[in-house]
């Protein structure tokens, strides 16, 4: 501090102590909630992963799953899967699918939280505003025209570019005066989704039967056929996206004061915006590339987390990743076991739950904002 900085406030010591204890109580309560949430989500994730690993057409008991993992780690404890195809199914079908669920769910939830922060609007979400469809269109182009310019990475690269272009477009169209109003955002989303839907339809029309099938599968969203080779491709995208988003967490907190005040507190708002738009596109691409459009995860998860831990972005982003992963593992397990011998579309399930939730949020936002502003 320089010599010009003014001295301490003139106030009674008692008031200062009172404020300190009130503040300490707020912090204590919040810390307890955060610890409980992390612990709860961590345990739930492990349990959900074990249940998901064991259930399906070929049922594998938990002790055999644990035994199989132990053997892979070089520990000779517990039984191996008794079914002849058990080991193969576990490691080449189920675990890769669970890993994909973690990546997709976590990425979508973090993308949603980051998007809400940068738009200053709690209703922003990749599928609502059309970023997911934009990414899907670009990925569909790669499939229909058989683009292989980057090997296994071709589809994710296209999805990223599509997502980036759409995010920039939505951002430019829906903002005025540094904020996006709910109506503008939702209407922009409708327009973008409509155009993306038309382009997808066109691609289906020009594509051959196989391409057509792939596109339909995307619109529904599914983790079916998640192989390790796909996981290896999207994991780095998700990792980079999540790490960069976390690095921006504090600036996102300040941004909630509005762009002007954030600038006064030293945030380079323009740069933050660009970085986060790229992050959202990256995460959406990671989720969409192989699994299609899984809607509303980025909306529902951050909201539920905020209710528990408050809006601070550092905790919000971490907890959203964990909760998003958990939600998707559970949803996917339901999708593939609810009806025997059938893989229900995952995107359909999340929309079935997320749609009404979105509606409820919309009504609540209208009430608290005193209008559609």
């Amino acid at each position: 501090m320089t010599a010009t900085v003014p001295g301490p406030a003139v106030r009674s010591q008692a008031a200062r102590v009172g404020s300190a204890t009130a503040t300490a109580a707020v912090d204590r309560r919040r810390r307890r909630r955060v610890v409980l949430l992390y612990a709860g989500l961590g345990i739930a994730l492990v349990v959900a992963a074990l249940v998901a690993g064991g259930s399906g057409q070929l049922s594998i008991p938990v002790n055999e799953i644990l035994g199989s993992i132990a053997h892979r780690l070089g520990l000779d404890v517990g039984p191996l899967p008794s079914h002849p195809r058990g080991e193969y199914t576990l490691w080449n079908v189920r675990f890769s699918r669970i890993a994909m669920a973690v990546i997709v769910g976590g990425s979508l939830a973090v993308a949603g939280a980051a998007m809400q922060g940068v738009f200053g609007n709690p209703l922003a979400e990749p599928s609502v505003v059309g970023v997911s469809s934009g990414a899907a269109v670009a990925a569909a182009v790669a499939i229909v025209f058989g683009l292989r310019f980057a090997g296994d990475w071709s589809i994710p690269v296209c999805a990223f570019v599509g997502g980036l272009v759409t995010t920039l477009l939505v951002y430019a169209l829906s903002r005025s005066d540094g904020r996006t109003e709910v109506v503008t955002l939702v209407l922009t989303g409708i327009a973008v989704n409509a155009v993306a839907g038309a382009l997808l339809a066109l691609l289906m029309f020009v594509g051959d039967t196989q391409a057509r099938e792939s596109i339909v599968f995307w619109q529904l969203g599914s983790l079916n056929g998640s192989r390790w080779s796909y996981v290896v491709v999207v994991a780095p995208l998700a990792l980079v996206g999540v790490v960069v988003a976390l690095a921006c967490a504090r600036s996102l907190d300040l941004l909630s004061l509005g762009e002007r005040s954030a600038r006064h507190l030293g945030v380079n708002v323009e740069r933050l915006r660009v970085v986060l738009i790229v992050v959202v596109a990256l995460l959406t691409a990671a989720a969409v590339s192989f699994c299609g459009i899984v809607a509303f995860v980025g909306l529902v998860v951050p909201h539920l987390v905020r209710m528990v831990t408050g809006p601070g972005h550092r905790v919000l982003l971490i907890a959203s990743f964990l909760a998003g992963a958990l939600v998707l593992i559970c949803a996917d397990t339901v999708a593939r076991t609810f009806v025997a011998y059938t893989d229900l579309p995952l995107g359909m399930l999340t929309s079935l739950v997320g749609g009404p939730f979105f509606f409820w949020l919309l009504r609540r936002t209208r009430r608290t904002a005193g209008g559609w502003a």
């Binding site: 010009t4 003014p6 009130a22 809006p311 601070g312």
Partner: protein, 269 residues
Amino acid sequence: MTANAPALLAQDVTLSFGRRPVLDAVDLEVRRREVLALVGPNGAGKSTLLSVLAGDLAPDRGEVLLEGRPLADWRLREMSRRRAVLTQEHKISFPFPTVDVVRMGRAPWRGLPEEDHDEQVVAEAMATADIDHLAGQPFGLLSGGEKGRTSFARVLAQRTGVLLLDEPTAALDIGHQETVLAHARTQAAAGAAVVVVLHDLSLAAAWSDRVALLHHGRVTAEGAPREVFTAPLLSLVYDHPIDVLAHPGTGELLVLPDRRSLMSREETA
């Protein structure tokens, strides 16, 4: 930093919004140990001038120097440790508790030795703004005045040598108006340079060392309140009959609208 340079210096600042001129060749010096009040009628350019001083708006012509260096040469983070800005609007996108909003004022000091005093500085700022009891309340649910005081606390927590306050007394009750401005005085006495946009001319007369009277984007008059606040000048600038008198007890300057002409007109009607 240059020791002799004024805290803030606006030179020949000119700015138009579209074809509407808002500021016209404004020169203004903001000195340390002084409260400077910007006054003037609606649309005179007070808030715009404050935005230019804060670096939010770049003028079409002229420039602003902070501690002798043009604003454009400052890094945002560095600047945020030198000057704090209280805006007129107090909004938030997410339901942060009040204490977290005040803590945001400490963001510029992250990673520096001053960070160690964060909690103490925040507690002091909250006590000064009288918002201790609101610590755990979500900022969005506070009343207008409470939001204003919370933002004021956030600005104080920033611990800067330059304070730019845009209508800090708006929506405050009379008691809190006095506390906020008294504290601005305390800051100035301790060495800070304070610029405050005010509508209440009696408040400006009571708490500022110097006033700048803006009219149509120009500084019409500048000086001690007693020199600037004269009935003929104010009546002209505000286009309304205004009386300036001394308080019978304390001799303080009171600026009041002269309602006699208005009332007699109504009586005759």
